[in-house]
């Protein structure tokens, strides 16, 4: 029994310590003075993290929009309210699905790649050698990746919403034959830019910070062996998915909980 409490205490201490390390790490890398080539390094990372994730995000977005329209139609038609399909598709995408699904895809596509890349640099002593050359890897390697993630995920989320709404339009209007005017006008009547689009963007910004932070920190803090890298990559995906879903509930409660 004492043994168990002791172990619990030790686990608590180590996890607190690693949380502290992660916090210091974020503060030192994200808010340090950017290095001289910061801009072009950042640009390159936006390419790797953002542009290369675009394909998977857009394709998923179209399909999710289409499925939403199909499912929504079968439910709404029972109430004779199939005209409200546009509203349903747009609101569920903007408020929930686009930020959450994009963040999950991002964690799987870009987050795991970031962890593996930085982990490999650590394992091959590239980070150490950079330190010995007198360049802070937090600023040179980590900071551009963090900021690239912060910017890319919200942009990807916008892309997801747009193609999702278009996918809903394809299914609802072109295939199921809802009147085109009511698809858009119902949407416009119910979507409030600041409340729906704005809050979705805030969500996605929060997810971007959390997912990129987890990914980069896991890479930087891992045990520099082949096994360590594969474990850290898994941890990145698991932790960031859990963090995204948990935070989504908290944010939704804060943003939309008191509305109705």
């Amino acid at each position: 029994m004492v043994h168990r409490i002791e172990r619990l205490g030790r686990v608590g201490c180590t996890s607190m310590a690693s949380l502290g390390r992660a916090g210091l790490f974020l503060a030192r890398s994200a808010f340090g003075v950017p290095s001289r080539e910061g801009w072009s390094l950042w640009l390159q990372q936006v390419y790797f993290v953002g542009v290369l994730s675009l394909a998977i995000v857009l394709v998923s977005g179209v399909f999710i929009g289409m499925v939403l329209a199909l499912q929504g139609y079968t439910i709404l038609i029972d109430f004779g309210a199939e005209q409200a399909l546009g509203q349903m598709v747009a609101l569920s995408l903007l408020r929930e699905l686009a930020p959450v699904v994009t963040a999950l895809l991002f964690a799987g596509r870009a987050g795991s790649a970031l962890t593996a890349e930085i982990g490999l640099m650590k394992a091959t002593e590239q980070l150490s050698s950079m330190e010995m050359i007198g360049v802070d890897p937090l600023r040179r390697i980590v900071a551009p990746r963090l900021w690239a993630g912060f910017v890319s995920l919200p942009l990807l989320t916008v892309g997801f919403s747009v193609v999702g709404i278009w996918g809903g339009y394809l299914v609802g209007v072109q295939w199921l034959g809802i009147f085109e005017g009511s698809y858009w006008s119902n949407m416009q009547a119910s979507v409030v830019f600041l409340d729906d689009v704005g809050n979705g963007m805030v969500k996605s910004l929060v997810f971007a910070c959390v997912v990129t932070w987890i990914a980069v920190f896991q890479g930087y803090d891992l045990v520099p062996t082949a096994e360590g890298i594969s474990r850290a990559t898994t941890r990145t995906v698991v932790y960031s998915s859990l963090a995204v879903l948990g935070l989504d509930f908290v944010l939704t409660a804060l943003m939309f909980g008191g509305l109705s």
């Binding site: 072009s40 640009l43 390159q44 936006v46 390419y47 953002g50 542009v51 675009l54 109430f79 004779g80 309210a81 005209q83 409200a84 747009a90 903007l94 890319s152 919200p154 942009l155 916008v158 892309g159 919403s161 747009v162 709404i165 858009w184 006008s185 949407m187 416009q188 009547a189 119910s190 979507v191 409030v192 830019f193 729906d196 689009v197």
Partner: protein
């Protein structure tokens, strides 16, 4: 060096696409317009019951949206609901003083909105005026209750 040009270009396009996407979400999806808020004037109306009318609900005239509800509050003098709405500037000085405002429902279960219909009074409503002739929302439960009690008495 050619590769870095490709990177720069694609990142630029990515950013541009993001901004255009946001613009699409603003204009096409949320129906934002570039009109400034000064292009409206306000009217008030008191209702005995507003049903599920909300701020930002539509105000229509002959089915055409001409404004939006801005605030809803309880009028502590009469204990009814005071609704403030913004109406398009074009209509200022054109709505007669005996205009009626009624709370209508879109479809059986749809959202509630305010419908205006003009009367014949030569005098017109100005900014900040109150519409006196109002018709409350039809609350479905009350309606059903009436029908049921009618059937019972019959």
């Amino acid at each position: 060096m050619k590769r870095s040009k490709v990177v720069e270009l694609s990142v630029g396009l990515f950013m541009l696409a993001g901004i255009l996407g946001l613009l699409f979400l603003g204009l096409r999806v949320s129906g934002l317009t570039f009109e400034t808020p000064e292009d409206t004037f306000t009217l008030e109306a008191n209702f005995a019951n507003i049903g599920s009318l909300k701020p930002r609900s539509r105000v229509t005239m002959a089915g055409v949206t001409v404004g939006r509800v801005t605030t809803i509050e309880l009028d502590t003098e009469w204990y009814d609901a005071r609704v403030v709405m913004e109406i398009d500037d074009d209509l200022e000085g054109k709505l007669s003083r005996d205009t009626t405002a009624s709370i209508l429902t879109a479809g059986l279960l749809g959202e509630q909105y305010i419908g205006l219909s003009v009367g014949g009074d030569p005098e017109t409503l100005a900014d900040g005026d109150r519409i006196n002739d109002t018709q409350s929302a039809i609350v479905l439960e009350e309606l059903i209750q009436q029908v049921v009690s009618n059937m019972a008495t019959n």
